[in-house]
Symmetry: C2
Subunit: 146 residues, 2 copies
């Protein structure tokens, strides 16, 4: 069975229809691991499905986030990134120069979640953790002393 089936199941369960646009969006996220902006996803899909509108991409990403099929990441540049919600949870190093990002498997909540629930009586829904800087290919010029 295609990898998209489990996602379609969930959509159907909640009364959503399986449209070609939704199929294209899911397929795009599965084919392109990592996080992408709505605009990027739109551009990718348009190569194989020229008719899709950016509005529809936004609308469906929002729907899929609400169903937990997709994760929305708030990066510092003012636009959200989206990635397929798979079982492996991770965070990102984001290069301020070239924009490339790299995954890190470490998650601060692994050691923190239980304590927060207990001590602060806070029910955690989600979190974000991103590290910005310069990657190995974009090392900034060394600062002068002074």
């Amino acid at each position: 069975m295609p990898a998209t089936d489990q996602f379609f199941q969930k959509l159907k369960q909640h009364g959503y229809k399986i449209t070609p646009q939704r199929q294209a969006i899911l397929q795009c996220l599965l084919d392109h691991p990592g996080h992408h902006s709505a605009e990027e996803i739109h551009q990718i899909i348009k190569t194989s499905y020229p008719h899709i509108s950016l509005d529809t991409v936004y609308r469906n990403l929002h729907t899929m986030v609400s169903l937990g099929l997709v994760l929305a990441l708030n990066f510092a540049d003012g636009r959200n990134r989206y990635e397929i919600a798979t079982e492996d949870h991770h965070h990102h190093l984001i290069c301020l120069s070239c924009g490339q990002s790299e995954q890190i498997d470490f998650c601060p909540l692994r050691e923190l979640a239980e304590e927060i629930s207990r001590e602060k009586n806070f029910t955690i829904s989600r979190h974000n953790f991103e590290i910005y800087g310069y990657c190995r290919n974009c090392q900034p010029a060394r600062k002068e002393r002074g």
Copy 2:
């Protein structure tokens, strides 16, 4: 000497002038600990300084962030929050219901920074870490089984 002096020093060092608007913004951030949106800061300042424009607030927050005097936090609701850069570093629990936030002293970089620099050859500039959920006063209704 006023608490704002060290900040004015830094502005002067970089060729910036000390304007009443800048004074008001710094004073506001010092008087109101925690993170606030540009709009909130503008509203607060207007009570004592009615003439300041929102543009100026944005422009100066940006300047102060670039000098390291102020921290910019990217929250999930699409607007940035700003707080005075003091020596005590912390992160936030943010309630999705009432919007209140609470500080946590834990910082994941304390244990991670050295490893990332070494293993990934990545120069860290900044990071963000926020936890969203429901605070003790806004606990969500318990989910039904199913």
